[in-house]
Symmetry: C2
Subunit: 436 residues, 2 copies
């Protein structure tokens, strides 16, 4: 007797052989996958009929800022400095813990509805994001975003908050919440801060989530200050390592790609945000070819403006092809890997997440294929990457618990969250007052 | 007494002032919009409650091949020549009239469900597409795709078919179907064929739908053969004019942009297809800046693999920003213009379509905003372009007739079309047999 049996679906296992099972089942017990295959005879407390649907590992969003969901569409199409100085920072300055909580609830709702089961976040009031994750039932790898700008006092304070967050939340919610340290970027954190973080991450046995080589301006600043490009600089201070989750990695040379690879750094590609902000185009096929398991992220909703990982998979593939003028680079399967097994590897969770395999955590999603835009069926992987949207997700299971069934979210009250999000956002805008 | 009153919606009029009405109504009578505004006191046969929803002009897909919807996901991530020679052309060779009809029905269903009300098509068995459009209730600007490759006999035959199609279908279905001539491209049609088409278009008072400057290979071939780049060549033979709908226009120089502008040519941008095929990136902001009303298209589902114009709007904006490394180019409103009023202008229908204005045809869509990924509301245009998907479309009206209401398509039997599409596609693949 198992807890849940997902029966009769088209299984996209993402196991080592990338096996597709035309009609198969997945058995779940105590939060883990206990059987995957064509015929499973086990009885189950609950049977989910997946006929006409695809079953795949839950998507992993490698880089986002969930609380910023409250700022979706607040400011677009602006020069980066105006966007930050006039719009985003004034709003963030006014964001109270409660605002971040509401933003994270809204983001959680959107992620569940679009098939994301695990995400990595770097922001402030991270305890409020953790609370939202607990309620929503999602899996979160959370870090408090630290910025010291060379101020010793500020550094101590930031490290104190970051450390307290790791102490309080790492491993919480049956392990659904993992903590990381979150130094913002090489140009906003002092060398001392980064080195201190490196030590602390080792001490606590947790990862580090940082923004890296996102803009040409960052390369310019780092080169002026340290005589080195961002990745070279981090390497020179002993910061790089397999525990480092590095968002963006756009402006990296071949030499820096080799440094990322040799140090086991985990880059996260954010194609929509990079395009929308005009940041540049990351050399993703080159990083993948060098053996780096590049993950995929949406970045925050303020610069995307969506948390839909299906859109992100398609765009990762399209952007690589457009950059190289070559339709063969980054094929559909590679994009799906980036959003599943690579995401798991990036978070150090390759043994636990990212594929439908016996022994792994039961984080999986069911996609309804009976839609005009997913017809006819020639190739399921092509459809998932090039034709599907988050709105095709029908059922979501995390840690063996059903978060959404047939489009209905069970852990959050959808209407209430929408109402709360609008009220909170209106209030936040009104607090800006004359500054806007 | 009007036929339909759409009441209490957030109106995105796309009129000259791009007016947004926070809570307004649209009255429809005899297929046309007879009132738009905050308060309309008219009684109506049918009232549609649009509270919590956005009302906007139906989206216009400026370039697609509807029958190819049957080939969605059949072949991806391949070099262009292998994709064409080994996959697409063998399939097309086997496509019978009935196959094209089924593909067009499937494509119509997808377009209705994702808010497209009018499209321009260029393909073979176009009478079968016309039949699908009649059933579906959509508006179509259809052209038979002609290819002669310099063969006189073939040219005559192609012109005969193209002319017959125009004669038989231009103005049919209460004017919902308009015909154009459809010479495939400058490198697949002889000069004589193109000049003949130009004359015929004038004679019949219809437009011309052509592929133009899609690949660098085309530029190479045209330059070798005629000593001129594609746009220059078409200009030199007197082909260019305001009736020419030119899909792609990727490889155009500043001088060629000026030729397009001076001759009133209507380029259609297809960002997804161009990226996926690695064709190149069209200079859209430059064309827009020169005063050309660039339209937007999905191209066929075989190279997209979706007909969702919402995705296309977002990508048009993102791609322009990524190409120029500038977040300010092609802002959300410009993308929405491309998919509405520019699309109308491209088809010569600027007086009839593309905005919610009194006297225009009643082609409009209603988008449900009560969704997590469309919350909170800061800016409706940002949400429509950067956050919405086709699946958010709730109701679709074309020519004053409701094609979809609350997600339910009224003109086509969705399940039946899906079943038919799968069966037809399976049969088509089986006909390929050993050739595959």
């Amino acid at each position: 007797m198992v807890d849940i049996l997902v029966r009769g679906g088209l299984l996209v296992t993402m196991n080592y052989n990338r096996q597709i099972v035309k009609q198969g089942s997945v058995a779940i017990e105590s939060g883990r996958i206990v059987a995957v295959g064509e015929e499973i005879k086990e009885k189950a407390d609950q049977v989910i009929d997946a006929r006409g649907k695809a079953v795949l590992p839950g998507l992993i969003n490698g880089h986002t800022h969930l609380a910023m969901t409250l700022l979706r569409g607040f400011a677009d199409d602006m020069p980066l400095d105006k966007w930050l100085f006039d719009k985003i920072w004034p709003m963030e300055k006014r964001m109270e813990p409660r605002d971040c909580h509401v933003g994270a609830l809204l983001g959680s709702l959107e992620m569940i509805k679009s098939g994301t089961t695990c995400f990595a976040d770097n922001y402030f009031h991270m305890d409020q994001v953790a609370r939202a994750v607990m309620k929503a039932g999602l899996r979160g790898v959370l870090s408090y975003g630290m910025i010291d700008r060379g101020d010793q006092q500020k550094m101590k304070e930031e490290i104190r908050i970051g450390r307290n967050f790791v102490r309080a939340f790492h491993g919480k919610a049956r392990g659904r919440i993992l903590a990381m340290f979150g130094p913002h970027a090489p140009y906003t954190c002092s060398t001392e801060c980064l080195q201190k973080v490196k030590e602390l991450a080792k001490e606590f046995g947790v990862g580090i989530h940082i923004h890296l080589a996102e803009s040409s301006e960052e390369v310019k600043q780092t080169t002026e200050k340290y005589g080195k490009r961002p990745v070279e600089y981090l390497n020179s201070i002993g910061f790089l390592g397999p525990e480092v989750l590095a968002a963006h990695c756009i402006w990296v040379t071949d030499k820096e790609i080799k440094l990322l690879k040799d140090n086991g750094v985990k880059p996260v590609h954010n194609p929509t945000s990079n395009m929308k902000m005009g940041s540049g185009i990351a050399p993703v096929p080159e990083m993948l070819a060098s053996g780096i398991p590049v993950a995929l992220g949406t970045d925050g909703a303020a610069s995307n403006n969506s948390l839909d990982m299906f859109k992100e998979m398609k765009l990762a593939s399209l952007l690589a092809k457009a950059r190289r003028l070559d339709p063969t680079v980054l094929p559909a399967m590679k994009a799906l890997e980036m959003a599943t097994i690579n995401g798991a590897a990036a978070l150090g969770l390759q043994a636990e997440l990212g594929s439908l395999e016996v022994g792994k955590k039961a984080d999986l999603i069911i996609v309804d294929l009976r839609k005009p835009h997913l017809s006819p069926m020639h190739d399921i992987v092509s459809h998932l990457v090039y034709s599907a949207s988050g709105s095709d997700v029908d059922t979501v299971i995390v840690d063996g618990k059903i978060l959404m069934e047939k489009g209905e979210v069970l852990t959050l009250d959808e209407e209430k969250v929408l109402e709360l999000a609008q009220r909170t956002s209106d209030d936040l805008v009104s607090r800006l007052g004359g500054d806007r």
